[in-house]
């Protein structure tokens, strides 16, 4: 079976190369970029093969930076990024690039304390800890938020991501929104000049570091905290409510955030009452004007399927799907792709 399939694939490639648009057998659509949505994207590509067997997807999860670079260089048919592209990078594109949001996820505040009590944090406290101003677990700012919890006179060991990542982008985007000091001193990026703390590589590195260090506090993707059975905190949102991070509260953030026409949005600190404040979406990047008509048509068909049917698979993989109002707006945008 396998060699046959492979041969068929190579044949398709040869045909593609030889006769450009008239590939009849199987088409290969190439994409590259973000690692955060990789599990759901590969699930989509698998499922979509049953819907349309004539298309195969090849997705390289090389990171958002690589995804943006490759779509700009037009070496892939679509890119993927955990952060919206900057104006500067968009200006380099040879055509109009569209941002298609797909799913969203949350960063949670995970910690390691004796007895692992349930904790609550607000914006000021989180910013204070990550700026290195709140140094001890029994700091009054933390204890007043958590009456009844006995917090030790222990140093807080701050853990952050050392590798560039969309998780860090969401985290620093949140801190920049709620703390003017953070905005001016550190700013928002996939990796920043951290004022304090130690760096762990990858979600697994940070999770490992927190689990192994008594008194540690850091941020990881929601899925990692759930899978590693780490305690994570409720965070006070813009409406003044303490919210537990989960799929519902992330979708609530998507539903209430202000989303501009070009979909280059940020949903951190969303105004909704049920919205978890530290979350973010991930995007596919496609050109509005597709060069290859046949390929473009197949890509558009896939995108429509992803928004209509693919979104339903998100929950199983711990991603928050787009709320319906946003799904409709995204579908409208996909219709605008010119073939």
């Amino acid at each position: 079976m396998k060699p046959l399939k492979f041969r068929r694939k190579t044949l398709a490639l040869v045909l593609l190369a030889g006769m450009s648009a008239t590939a009849s057998a199987q088409m290969m659509i190439n994409g590259a970029g973000a690692t955060f949505p990789y599990p759901i994207y590969s699930k989509w590509f698998d499922e979509y093969a049953k819907v349309d067997p004539s298309v195969r997807f090849n997705y390289q999860s090389i990171g958002s930076g690589g995804g943006q670079k490759q779509i700009l260089a037009q070496t892939v048919d679509f890119g993927a990024s955990d952060g919206p592209m900057s104006d500067e990078n968009l200006a380099k594109a040879p055509g109009k690039l569209l941002h298609i949001p797909t799913v969203a996820g949350a960063d949670v505040v995970a910690y390691n304390l004796p007895g692992n009590p349930a904790l609550k944090f607000d914006a000021d406290t989180i910013a204070g800890i990550f700026l290195g101003q709140i140094k001890k677990w029994n700091d009054p700012k933390i204890t007043t938020l958590n009456p009844g919890v006995s917090l030790p006179d222990q140093e807080i060991v701050v853990v952050h991501r050392s590798d560039g990542s969309g998780t860090t982008y969401i985290w620093t985007d949140y801190l920049s929104k709620i703390s003017p000091e953070w905005k001016s001193k550190v700013g928002t990026n996939t990796s920043v000049n951290w004022p304090t703390g130690i760096g762990g590589k990858g979600n697994e590195g940070v999770a490992g570091q927190i689990k192994q260090t008594p008194g540690a506090l850091g941020y990881v993707e929601l899925i990692y905290a759930v899978q590693n059975k780490m305690p994570y905190a409720e965070v006070k949102n813009a409406a003044g409510e303490f919210v537990k991070p989960n799929i519902q509260s992330v979708t609530a953030a998507l539903a209430t955030a202000d989303i501009p026409e070009d979909f280059r949005f940020s949903i951190t600190n969303a105004p909704g009452k049920d919205a978890y404040p530290i979350c973010g979406a991930t995007w596919l990047l496609v050109y509005e004007q597709q060069k290859d008509a046949t390929k473009g048509k197949k890509l558009v068909e896939f995108l429509k399927w992803a928004v209509k049917d693919g979104e339903k698979m998100a929950r199983d993989l711990q991603y928050a799907p787009l709320p319906e109002n946003l799904q409709e707006r995204v579908l409208k945008r996909i219709h605008e792709i010119k073939i």
Partner: protein, 330 residues
């Protein structure tokens, strides 16, 4: 051609036989020479191409930051201020710690295996050491996070602090992830290569050396020290340099335990950062040109540091061997 003449002149053999003897073709020799030359040149070319590519990839950053890149310590992708000093420092210090731990261990192991160990135990130990070399870096790193660091934090580090806490090297809070932990994990990774090479070198010491020393009435320790170790000194130094080369470029395992904080601190309990680690960490998500170029320049610096350290080691080796020969002559 000159070589070809004497046998021809000397031959007094019958003509027919001489005619039948076709002069051997030198084509094979020449072809072999050219082939090996091409191979050797390919390596040189590869090194030059890597250097050139790194230079080309970082030209913008080199222009923008100039010499400051090597002397400043801010690494801020948001404001696009880049300085490599803490990374250079971290690379050198962690490699130095690694050598400090690995060299005595490796050389002692090699001496034991070639000079002292009973024959039946040698092969199992050698196989075990070679297995250590086969462990993937990322596995060692995870082991570092989950096993080594908690243990270091709870036992050896507090001891070090108690006895040497008065020096700046072992002061300050203990988190576990630290420059020292990074050095220790590199030491584990370069142990096998230094041990294997040292063992081969000690094995190649001629037995005559040992026998001569024994004949002079030397004890086992004296034989090992005078006849074996000092004879093999040059080779052992080469083994250490091989290990150092690996230490400087070691990435994954170090990244997972060193703490990844670009700072220059005297205390080895504080987290550090290495050149190779920052590339591995930030390359995939570097979106702006100057950021990417700065990472390329880090690669260039690593390239330069490796060459420089190797050159210094060669020089050291030269002075070492010349002083030892003069001593021998005296």
């Amino acid at each position: 051609m000159e070589i070809a003449t004497p046998p021809a002149a000397a031959s007094l053999a019958p003509r027919s036989a001489a005619q039948a003897m076709v002069p051997p073709s030198r084509f094979g020799d020449k072809a072999f020479e050219w082939l090996t030359l091409a191979m050797a040149m390919a390596v040189v070319l590869l090194v030059i191409l890597i250097g050139w590519q790194l230079w080309r990839g970082s030209s913008l950053a080199v222009q923008k930051f100039g010499f400051h890149f090597l002397t400043t310590s801010t690494w801020d992708p948001v404001t696009e201020q880049f300085g490599a000093l803490p990374f250079i420092y971290g690379t050198l210090v962690s490699s130095f710690i690694a050598l400090l731990i690995a060299v005595p261990l490796s050389v002692a192991t090699a001496v034991y295996l070639t000079e002292l160990a009973p024959l039946w135990i040698r092969q199992p130990i050698v196989s075990l050491i070679e297995m250590l070399a086969a462990i993937p870096s990322v596995i060692l790193g995870l082991w570092g996070i989950f096993v080594m660091i908690p243990w270091l934090r709870d036992y050896p580090f507090p001891l070090l602090k108690r006895f040497f806490g008065w020096t700046p090297f072992f002061s300050g809070p203990i988190y576990g992830t630290s420059m020292l932990a990074g050095g220790i994990i590199i030491a584990i990774m370069i142990l096998p290569i230094i041990t294997s090479v040292s063992r081969e070198i000690l094995r190649s010491v001629p037995n005559l050396q040992r026998e001569a020393a024994y004949a002079l009435g030397a004890t086992r320790w004296e034989v090992t020290r005078i006849a074996v170790l000092s004879y093999a000194r040059k080779g052992l130094f080469g083994a250490v340099i091989l290990g150092l080369g690996r230490a400087l470029g070691e990435t994954m395992a170090v990244t997972m335990v060193i703490g990844n904080t670009p700072q220059i601190a005297a205390s080895l309990f504080k987290p550090g950062y290495t050149l190779a680690s920052v590339i591995a960490n930030e390359f995939t998500e570097a979106t702006t040109d100057i950021y990417l170029q700065a990472l390329f320049e880090i690669g260039l610096v690593l390239f330069g540091v490796t060459i420089l350290v190797n050159l210094i080691a060669q020089l050291l080796l030269k002075t070492l061997t010349t002083t030892s020969t003069t001593r021998a002559v005296q």
